[in-house]
Symmetry: C2
Subunit: 378 residues, 2 copies
């Protein structure tokens, strides 16, 4: 596999620094002390190229060839070999990764992808962008969150997700919250099915927040199945990539919305981590902080995340980019221009900030998202 790192270094030292990184991320011992000929030939990392980083003076982009056999078949070990030790070295960022076809094929990848979200949402969601909002604040009891979910679903929001801060806290334990919210969503869906007007037949899907260790996750997944919940939210870096892949991706049976919590600290390029890697690990949609909100990603990084989510990647399905993080209804047209129809827009606080006018603002948000590309097509 080819891993590209950005290293801060002067030109005179970069060759040696790059070779040291190749050793650190493969055999992690002095090269002279490796006596096994096969290990020297096939396991030690190799420097393939060193280029000055034009965008960042004083840095070089170094591509290493790392042996696939150091990873085996486990996604956590992939992260370990890509960025385990060098995460401790402040002069290194991980920028990009090219996997050989067998490794690419063996990674789980999304089960549902863009088309899976549309299928979960029904015929009305074909070939258009999707809307998403969040149940918050945490601290509310389950019935209050259910009431909010009902209002959002009645307004035509496609995906109603838990706030990523909702876990299994006493104020609204998972086993109470999820059935209550799911019933509220179903009631709204029944009413929309029986009604007419622009939302006739619109179907909303609930994505509760999964969290915790394997036993707790297994119990939560049972509730998701038993209650007929249609999607799930998960923070891969909080629960850990191995658990995300082996338990959540393998057993949830519904489209997964990945949240970037705890993912921003790692000095791994956002298009690689939130786009390509989360997709390869099994996310069906990936939330990221869009530019101009409460976070600081520049616009080109956001567009690159969206590209990573949707571009061809071996056998793997494209997934939905989900720009978020302090977005407003006023920015919907601009975001749809940026990200196109294979996108889910997530607005939370800006809807709730409308107070009594929340249902109207949510309706406006859902309608703008739903009609943008339908209008263009007609």
């Amino acid at each position: 596999m080819l891993a590209t790192y950005r290293l801060r270094s002067d030109a005179g030292s970069i060759g040696e620094r790059a070779r040291a990184l190749a050793v650190e991320q493969s055999i992690e011992m002095p090269l002279d002390a490796v006596r096994d000929a096969r290990v020297r030939a096939e396991v030690v990392g190799e420097v393939r190229s060193i280029e000055p980083a034009t965008a960042q003076p004083g840095c070089f982009d170094v591509t290493l060839a790392l042996a696939a056999e150091t990873v085996g078949d486990e996604p956590g070990q992939l992260l370990n070999m890509l960025f385990g030790n060098c995460s401790l070295q402040p002069d290194v960022e991980l920028l990009d990764l090219e996997l050989p076809e067998p490794m690419l094929r063996n990674l789980p990848g999304p089960r549902f992808g863009v088309a899976g979200w549309r299928a979960a949402l029904g015929a009305g969601a074909a070939a258009r962008a999707l809307s998403c909002s969040a149940l918050k604040p945490q601290g509310l009891p389950a019935d209050a969150l259910a009431a909010l979910a009902y209002a959002l679903a009645r307004a035509g929001i496609d995906v109603v997700k838990d706030d990523h801060g909702l876990a299994d806290q006493p104020a609204a334990p998972f086993a109470q919250r999820v059935p209550a919210v799911q019933r509220a969503i179903e009631r709204a869906n029944r009413e929309k099915a029986a009604g007419d007007g622009p939302l006739a037949g619109h179907r909303s899907v609930y994505a509760p927040s999964l969290s915790g260790g394997p036993k707790r996750l297994a119990a939560q997944l049972r509730i998701v199945r038993d209650e007929g919940v249609g999607a799930a939210l998960v923070c891969p870096m909080v629960i850990g990539i191995p658990g995300f892949v082996e338990l959540v991706r393998a057993e949830a049976g519904v489209p997964l919305l990945a949240h970037p919590a705890l993912a921003g600290h790692a000095r791994i390029g956002e298009p690689l981590l939130l786009g390509k890697l989360f997709r390869l690990f099994g996310a069906d949609a990936t939330i990221f902080p869009n530019w101009g909100g409460r976070f600081s990603y520049p616009r080109e990084v956001c567009l690159a995340i969206a590209d990573s989510a949707r571009e061809p990647l071996g056998k793997h399905l494209p997934i939905l980019p989900v720009p978020a993080g302090g977005m407003s209804v006023a920015r919907v047209p601009e975001m749809l221009d940026d990200f196109g129809p294979d996108t889910m827009l997530l607005i939370g606080g800006n809807l709730l900030a409308a107070g009594d006018a929340m249902p109207a603002r949510a309706t406006e948000f859902a309608a703008r998202v739903a009609h943008a590309f339908q209008t263009q097509a007609s």
Copy 2:
């Protein structure tokens, strides 16, 4: 709980920035839109203090009071509420954490701690520092790693650990490697038990590297139990904190050596993450890159990690700091001066770099570590 963050900000903006952080790490929505009086009073984060960071001009240290109820009883959720969203904001570092007594009590903490390591190693390891070395390079077959383990154990190394890059790869699958290495360690121990000289009765313990999702971890833990393995190595940030706590810490039944892979990013203070938090999550020893090696932590950070590992912390046992990362036998006296007897020194590559003289250098390393504090005491 009181969480202290370092924020890059000018003096005129820091008040507003601190309040925004308190909202981001609690309810994550506009404060005006929170209608529930209980949530406003009890769940929203509060700014408790703002002080200029004397060590870092242009920064402020901000202490927030965050509601314990937002965490509930799950360690992954603790990380989520401390640093989930703000990990995505480059102007924030997490520096410190004070937990109220009930939260502190409910975190699992180490099962074995310093005394547990000594007990696992036998009477000869009382009241002295411990030595540790690593099996590497990865890519070697199981029998070659077992031969290396035998040599290290015969040299008197206390803890022989897998390289953290060893997982479950084809070259030396866990189910082959661990029984082979454990038998080699036992053979060395039997020979030392039957012999005389300075190593008479010395006992070495093997710490294989656990990795993967819950099913794979469970299978590995069965092998550890069935083979009578005495310790284990694990990368908490690679497997994920919830799995580390709920599966490894709960079920391993042996002292756990935490490895910092994927934990270094300089945005959560190392003494907090590698010292206090890994200890609270259940590590019995914590590896960190000592100053002057291949990594760049300054000496005072290394000493602070050691303090966090051993200082009083509610009901929780002290654990061993394990300075590592390019250390040499020549530095043993200085490291023992720095870290004292409740320490495990880890040297890997420097032993292997001796080539044919490796057994002699390992013997010198083990003896220096074993005798330092015994000599002082006699």
